[in-house]
């Protein structure tokens, strides 16, 4: 056991730092050529890096003021890209991975639908085989960065005559294909930031861009969701990203608000929980390097991390009282780091309800922990064994889009 992270004098770190000093404004393509945008992937895409190298690369990119590729192109580099390594064809890998790793093509996920997000298996968007193509019709929602993405990973129903989880398939979709309409959503934070609705009307996608076989869709997206959850277990305020309890404590101490007895004990609780989340995440990395099973941290970690983040930004707000109810970026001082959207507590707080909704609600996550980790009985889904076309009528054209025409 060794809880020390790789030190300042680690030769691998020194090599990374020297290169970044010699190349102060690298393009992501340059980083990708070094295998640094997905270091944990195998060659030729990455370096098969162990956890220490991954941690050092993260820290050194941050130190050089470069936004993490896995934050900039998260869907490609964290959630979905790895699926091409296991489920994709060589042709698909050669076409889609190089521009993804270079962050020249950004990716989005087209999973949730108005009919259900947590009950993803209930999705109604269909793909019908026509010659060498499939023709997609339906609607997706809550698609982060769909408005600026070139590539979408979409799950659709290719067979409605089998039970809901069996007739699903995954495609890699060029977002510029005719029939794809993207519309941003203003969420309750009041910002147009990353979410969109995506309407699909007679969208033709080549059969060669299907990932895996027809019917493999459910297994592929479950894998992707597990990977996505694992990425949300760090102790940041929003889905593991953003400022952590360390920054919160630092701010509370610097402003003297830590002396407030109504703040103090809660701050300590959050600090401790944040440190333990960090340990769980690192343990997950350690287990991977030692060839042991990945463990339970992904689902369990997100189950703890999401409400942790909510309480964190809530305490930042509480420490400020009514002044925190005025839109402002200065609730507490923050170090100059790259938190992307969440570079201030104000935004983190008003965004925070999303943390226990996205990637399956907190309730779904608790079901998953109880069933998969504790082995408690599965929840009843009376529709699980019935052919899909007998439980749901075919979806009509999206009403809002039709009305606008």
């Amino acid at each position: 056991m060794d809880f020390n992270l790789p030190g300042e004098d680690d030769p691998r770190r020194r090599e990374i730092r020297a290169w970044l000093e010699a190349n102060p404004s690298p393009t992501y393509r340059q980083l990708a050529e070094r295998g640094w945008t997905a270091p944990n992937w195998p060659a030729p895409w990455g370096l098969s890096a162990g956890p220490e190298l991954v941690v050092m690369l993260d820290e050194e990119l941050e130190r050089a003021g470069i936004r993490h590729p896995h934050q900039l192109n998260a869907i490609a580099l964290n959630q979905c890209g790895q699926s091409l390594l296991t489920w994709g064809t060589e042709e698909q890998r050669q076409r889609f991975l190089p521009p993804a790793l270079a962050c020249e093509e950004r990716w989005c996920m087209l999973f949730s639908e108005p009919s259900g997000g947590s009950d993803l298996g209930n999705l109604r968007t269909t793909a019908r085989r026509v010659g060498d193509d499939y023709v997609i019709n339906g609607q997706k929602i809550w698609n982060s960065h769909a408005d600026i993405s070139q590539i979408g990973v979409i799950i659709v129903r290719t067979d409605s005559a089998v039970p809901k989880h069996k007739g699903l398939s995954v495609f890699i979709l060029d977002m510029k294909t005719p029939g794809v309409t993207v519309r941003p959503i203003v969420d309750m934070s009041g910002e147009v930031n990353e979410y969109n609705e995506v309407f699909l009307e007679d969208v033709r996608v080549p059969a060669a861009h299907r990932l895996g076989q027809e019917g493999d869709g459910w297994r592929i997206v479950v894998e992707q969701l597990q990977t996505e959850r694992q990425g949300m277990t760090m102790p940041g305020a929003v889905w593991g990203s953003g400022p952590t309890a360390r920054e919160l404590l630092d701010g509370l101490i610097r402003t003297g608000r830590i002396k407030n007895p109504l703040i103090r004990d809660d701050a300590a609780k959050l600090f401790i929980e944040g440190e333990l989340l960090r340990l769980l995440t690192y343990r997950h990395l350690s287990n991977k390097i030692n060839g042991k099973p990945a463990g339970v941290e992904g689902n369990l970690g997100k189950m703890i991390a999401s409400p942790h983040g909510q309480r964190l930004s809530d305490l930042a707000k509480r420490s400020q009282g009514a002044a925190g109810m005025v839109k402002n970026r200065d609730v507490l001082p923050l170090p100059d780091k790259h938190y992307g959207l969440f570079d201030n507590w104000d935004y983190a707080y008003w965004f925070s309800p999303a943390a226990t909704l996205g990637v399956g609600t907190q309730e779904i996550l608790k079901n998953t922990v109880a069933e998969r980790i504790l082995g408690l009985p599965r929840d009843l889904d009376p529709t699980a064994a019935t052919p899909f076309n007998q439980i749901n009528r075919p979806q009509v054209a999206p009403a809002r889009l039709a009305a606008e025409r």
Partner: protein, 368 residues
């Protein structure tokens, strides 16, 4: 970096588990009026002494095994999981006080007997209201010292051959060794709610005390960090076992035509406990590693572990009784033994909020 237990640690834990599963029998405690003595408090210790566990933390120079705090956490965790009634905690506490504050000669003489399984120890610290080192006064008597006062909540006091006593000498906190059988030493058992332990008072009336000559202001914080680890290791393992028991029961017990565990109201509570159990275990491993390495973060890690594991254990034992329903509220079930161990562990060295205050103060000092 490597946050994973080694195979050696896992083997040690498995060996302790096998031994304690065979030797610990809590059933005699499930009769009203029973005490730790009825559950083998003395006989179990003899077997444990044969295994050499009293010498785990005694350095090899004094005849011990000199094992690490990670090793210790493996063994203590299993003792916590089984609520093994025996004077292990007191002996550990006394050993650490002597290790930190004793002279070379004192360590060799006193700890050699502990390592050989010939002596059991206890650590007497606390006043009735929980203050450390306030209730016993020491005065010089030639080259000796005489101790007067009462220490409360002394774990394993009645079993101890020697008691290490925290006392004020000229306004400073010092540690003394008292022979349990000596004149002026009176030990009385308290009606401690956790009947898997034996806890008492130690009343001293001019009793002869041998000053541990290395006693200083850092003795108690140093010992305290290790006692935090010990209790936290018990609590984390206890959290896990009462969760497992509740899960097993929820799979078997039927209500409204379904197993209890099929209801989300039950499932979700148990899922939350699974999260707390993982965090508590991680906190214990981190603290054990930091103490083993003598890392600067050890005091922070120990206080974090004790506060977190205490709260987790309390939550888990409450939920465990709730999942079992009314049967879990009876004396004949063992649920209450864990419930009481959890509460007593959380108060013995000060409540979780106190350890959190220590965490904040450490952070404030770092920032200053």
């Amino acid at each position: 970096m490597n946050f994973t237990l080694s195979d050696d640690h896992l083997e040690l834990r498995d060996a302790a588990q096998t031994f304690l599963d065979k030797e610990v029998d809590l059933r005699p405690l499930l009769v009203p009026g029973a005490t730790a003595t009825d559950a083998g408090y003395d006989t179990l210790w003899r077997k444990i002494a044969e295994l050499g566990w009293p010498s785990l933390i005694v350095p090899e120079t004094y005849g011990g095994l000199g094992m690490s705090y990670i090793d210790l956490a493996m063994v203590v965790g299993e003792m916590g999981r089984t609520l093994a009634p025996c004077p292990f905690f007191g002996t550990l506490a006394g050993t650490w006080a002597i290790l930190r504050a004793g002279s070379e000669d004192q360590r060799a003489r006193l700890l050699g007997r502990v390592a050989g399984g010939e002596a059991k120890l206890a650590l007497a610290l606390t006043s009735m209201d929980g203050a450390i080192g306030e209730s016993v006064a020491a005065t010089a008597d030639g080259s000796n010292h005489r101790l007067t006062g009462t220490a409360w909540y002394v774990v394993d006091a009645a079993a101890a051959d020697q008691i290490v006593v925290a006392a004020r000498l000229d306004g400073r906190l010092k540690f003394f060794v008292v022979e349990a059988k000596a004149a002026g030493v009176a030990i009385a058992l308290l009606d401690w709610r956790d009947i898997t332990r034996q806890v008492g008072t130690v009343t001293l009336t001019g009793a002869l005390g041998e000053l541990l000559t290395g006693s200083d202001d850092q003795t108690w914080p140093w010992v305290r960090d290790r006692l935090y680890l010990t209790l936290a290791a018990e609590s984390a393992a206890g959290t896990r076992v009462v969760l497992d028991d509740a899960v097993t029961y929820a799979k078997e017990r039927m209500a409204f035509g379904r197993p209890l565990g099929a209801f989300q109201a039950i499932k979700h509570q148990l899922a939350e406990l699974a999260g707390q159990a993982e965090c508590a275990t991680a906190a214990v491993h981190y603290a054990a590693w930091a103490l083993t390495e003598d890392d600067a973060r050890a005091p922070l890690a120990a206080a974090m572990a004790q506060s977190y594991a205490s709260d987790a254990y309390r939550d888990a034992t409450y939920r465990n009784v709730q999942v079992f329903g009314a049967i879990g509220f009876t004396w004949e079930m063992k649920n209450h033994l864990y419930y009481k161990r959890a509460r007593c562990n959380a108060e013995l060295l000060g409540p979780p909020a106190q350890q959190r205050e220590e965490v904040i103060q450490l952070l404030e000092r770092q920032a200053a």
